[in-house]
């Protein structure tokens, strides 16, 4: 009965989403308050029903109802209880269920926190959110129903893919989806603004915290995926430029661009069309990612037949959502003409360059990911684009971007002199050179590209610290706004991330050796000594468990126990064991047994210096996004802002409204401008 109840819930949610897509939208045009008020009820209803369906599906996994096809395919009577939760979203159908549920969470949050918005804008935004929900719910119900029964029922399940039986995979998809789906919020705002034909700053101000939080979730989600790949795949890599990874990286890059563009639009009034376009792009790329992963066009995790029907559905959905949005943009968005009075050397210009570089990187990753498809369509044969290409090309755009990071924070809006900015950054540059030189001496042998990479990383970190220090010195009263601290945290994270990447790529020691008990191998500063391999039984697997002692010099540090697991279903998994440390991990993985007695084993022993910085950096970036989202100013009622704006545009008509005074007269902004702009600073 329960699965049928879930089915009914989904249909009710679909019905509500349909109603909420239409009624408030009509209401916003006919100025009917009643109709507009349907929006928040409809959104709450979608949340309740989708949430209940989600709970019912989870219940089916918990009680192991193998008459449900989805459960039979992805669970097993021996599956430990924790993984029965994550098995809910381990399959295609289940992950759509999660998508839909997370979408209604964002919708509900939006309905709850948008009371200060003008009625019309609010109705339209919630209506657009419901349209997206409608598309996803119908995709799920008509092509990938998670509650499909299986006749006759299976006695036992097929088991969850062992790759997914892991803590990282319990939390990675929900985080990633929070990010993906969260990008629907700026999208909905952009569409509502275009429909209103009022492409001004008010929606951007309200939208900024949402974009930041969605992007922060995306960052955490990607970082978790990278961390999982590192310890679970047994190769010690943290990023593989795999199409599925790239699919999540594309909206991240555009999201980073959008966060900066929104800042310009909100504070200076320029970049409006661009902000609209990026809002559309971020969500579209999230959808595209879903399409690529789910349609089987590029890759499918399972060898189950990919379903072209599903692919077609998402493609049509993508076509309507993105095609419609871009057409609307072409017709309406391009008519916004804001002439900027900003000079060549100004923060606006730097942020424009930031956006161009981020979008170029995004385009590059996208081309690399889609090139095999393009070649296929043009009959050029089978191609695959490898990690070295991505790495080199990506560095091409990211290095200038990183070099400009400290400049952006120091440069004034509107007009500045390059000389002044560079003079202020001189101590930071000195510090960066000193730190790099010191590390070079400490590490003795370092390839030159690592030294250069470190220099860039230290430059970003020192530049950000210099910004904080300068604010501390020159400002009186409120020295930092949350927005500034958020920016500083994200930029520090970026620097740490880069340092981690450079050190791991340049200094990792990887040894692939044959070991028998008693033998040892040196990796970096550590010695890995093999004690032996023993057998052990897990809940749903049998394992060979290695015992390795790790020494630093002659001092015993720890024992590591990597495993080679054979799951009941037949898959063999390599479970690496890692001794994490901020200065560098020791990573040991069991390969294959190399003799009949089972004594000699192939062993992979790695030293991964500073790899933790990569994820620490990502967490700092995400933290920065959340911190900036908490900025007080962004929560001031939008209505007054709009009133001011309309007054301003009345006064200013005919002039060049590069920077409407409306936004500057609020709290927060002047502080930022005043200190960094006042000539007396230097």
């Amino acid at each position: 009965m329960m699965p049928e109840l879930g089915q009914v819930c989904l249909l009710l949610a679909l019905l509500l989403a349909g109603i909420t897509s239409i009624v408030p939208m009509i209401g916003s045009y006919t100025e009917n308050r009643r109709m507009m008020q349907v929006a928040s009820f409809g959104i709450s209803g979608q949340f309740v029903f989708t949430g209940f369906a989600f709970v019912l599906l989870t219940y089916a996994f918990l009680v192991q109802d193998f008459s449900v096809l989805n459960v039979a395919n992805n669970s097993n009577s021996e599956l430990p209880i924790g993984y029965r939760f994550s098995a809910v979203w381990g399959s295609h159908e289940g992950s759509l269920m999660l998508w839909a549920f997370v979408h209604t969470i964002w919708g509900l949050a939006l309905a709850l926190f948008s009371a200060s918005l003008p009625d019309k804008l609010r109705a339209r935004v919630l209506s657009v959110m419901s349209m997206i929900g409608f598309g996803f719910l119908s995709f799920m119900i008509f092509t990938s129903n998670p509650f499909d029964r299986m006749v006759p029922p299976n006695l036992d399940g097929n088991d969850l893919n062992p790759l997914l039986q892991d803590f990282g995979l319990i939390i990675h998809p929900p985080m990633l989806y929070m990010g993906y789906v969260g990008s629907a919020v700026p999208f909905a705002f952009a569409i509502a603004a275009l429909l209103e034909n009022r492409v001004d700053q008010s929606w951007v101000r309200y939208c900024r915290p949402w974009t930041n939080i969605a992007w922060a979730f995306l960052t955490v989600g990607i970082a978790l995926g990278s961390w999982w790949a590192y310890y679970e795949l047994g190769w010690g890599g943290w990023w593989f430029w795999d199409p599925v990874e790239n699919a999540s990286f594309l909206p991240w890059l555009v999201g980073a661009a959008l966060i900066h563009a929104q800042a310009v639009t909100e504070k200076r009034g320029t970049f409006r069309g661009w902000t609209l376009l990026l809002s559309i792009a971020m969500f579209s790329l999230s959808l595209l990612g879903t399409f690529l992963v789910r349609s089987g066009v590029i890759t499918s995790v399972h060898s189950f037949a990919s379903d072209p029907e599903r692919g077609l559905f998402i493609l049509v959905f993508l076509g309507i959502v993105t095609g419609g949005a871009l057409l609307l943009f072409a017709l309406r968005g391009s008519r916004v003409r804001v002439l900027s009075s900003a000079g060549l050397m100004s923060r606006e210009t730097l942020l424009l360059v930031n956006n161009i570089l981020l979008i170029s990187s995004c385009a590059l990753v996208m081309i690399g990911t889609l090139f095999p498809l393009l070649a296929e369509a043009l009959n050029l044969g089978k191609y695959s684009v490898g990690a070295p290409w991505f790495g080199k090309m990506f560095a091409l755009f990211s290095i200038p971007l990183l070099l400009l990071v400290p400049l952006g924070a120091f440069c004034r809006w509107n007009q500045d002199q390059l000389g002044r900015v560079l003079t202020q950054l001189l101590p930071a540059a000195g510090l960066a050179v000193f730190a790099t030189g010191f590390t070079w001496l400490m590490a003795r042998e370092m390839p030159i590209r690592v030294v250069l990479g470190l220099l860039v990383a230290f430059w970003v970190i020192a530049g950000t610290c210099a910004f904080l220090w300068r604010r501390w010195k020159v400002a009186s009263g409120k020295r930092y706004t949350l927005e500034m601290l958020g920016m500083a945290s994200a930029h520090l994270g970026l620097g740490l991330w880069l340092a981690g990447v450079v050190l791991v790529e340049g200094l990792s020691v990887e040894r692939d050796v044959r070991l028998t008990p008693g033998e040892q191998v040196e990796v970096g500063p550590y010695t890995v000594k093999m004690l032996g391999v023993a057998h052990r039984s897990g809940a749903n697997f049998e394992a060979d468990r290695g015992r390795f002692e790790i020494y630093r010099g002659t001092e015993l540090i720890t024992e590591l126990n990597p495993e080679k697991r054979k799951y009941r279903r037949g898959e063999v998994m390599t479970e690496a064991d890692i001794r994490p440390h901020i200065f560098g991990d020791v990573y040991v993985a069991l390969g294959e047994p190399l003799d009949d007695k089972g004594e000699a084993w192939g062993v992979r022993a790695y030293h991964k210096p500073f790899i933790r910085l990569i994820w620490l950096g990502a967490l700092l970036m995400a933290f920065g996004g959340v911190l900036a989202a908490a900025e007080r100013r962004l929560r001031t009622p939008v209505l007054t802002q709009q009133e001011k704006l309309s007054q301003d545009s009345g006064k200013n008509s005919g002039q060049i409204p590069g920077a409407p005074s409306g936004s500057d007269s609020n709290s927060g902004v002047p502080a930022l401008n005043a200190t960094l702009n006042s000539p007396g600073n230097a």
């Binding site: 097929n158 391009s334 916004v336 369509a377």
Partner: protein, 184 residues
């Protein structure tokens, strides 16, 4: 209301839309073509299928794949542990019941307990002429199987003409068998 409303639509604003439309066409073409990006074509395509010797699940008699030479057949890889196989099974039953059907050989892949396989076949029906067993998956490795269900269409000379990954449909079976017969 707007700060500045241009009277005309600017031409470049349509570029994102055009790029997106182009992308959609590419994606659509890929969706329509039925080549699976992950399937590197089977190395045995156009070559002889590797021979293997094992026992039959139901009769317990020895089974030698070389004895099949001289007639076309479908080698279907299944297991009672595989729900997708259960979904495919009615299609195989339906095909086996047609008068012109060629033989289907069901390789019972990675079956933990042979009884499971027997029960499964008695419950869902048996479309197979022979049911060779592959409990440890060794035959599967020789054949290059990477999941079940999977099917090899082999002609009278023992040459693999087509490999299908995933559940078969009746239409696919009929079409591929027709191709096997044509090549004869």
């Amino acid at each position: 209301m707007n700060l500045r409303d241009a009277k005309t639509i600017r031409w470049w604003a349509i570029i994102p839309f055009l790029l997106f439309a182009y992308l959609c066409v590419i994606l659509y073409l890929n969706l329509k073509s039925d080549n699976d990006p992950k399937s590197v074509p089977s190395p045995f395509l156009g070559k002889s299928i590797p021979t293997f010797v094992t026992t039959d699940l139901l009769t317990g008699a020895a089974f030698d794949s070389a004895s099949l030479k001289g007639e076309p057949y479908i080698l279907n890889v299944w297991g009672s542990w595989c729900p997708e196989c259960a979904r495919e099974h009615p299609v195989l039953n339906q095909y086996a019941a047609t008068p012109s059907a060629i033989a289907i050989i069901g390789l019972d892949h990675k079956e933990v307990d042979p009884n499971d396989g027997k029960v499964w076949l008695s419950r869902l029906g048996n479309p197979y002429r022979f049911v060779p067993v592959d409990p440890d998956g060794r035959i599967g490795i020789d054949l290059g199987v990477y999941g079940a269900p999977e099917s090899y269409f082999v002609d009278a000379e023992g040459i693999v003409r087509y490999k299908h990954i995933g559940a078969l449909s009746l239409a696919t079976i009929n079409q591929k068998v027709a191709e096997l017969n044509r090549e004869k």
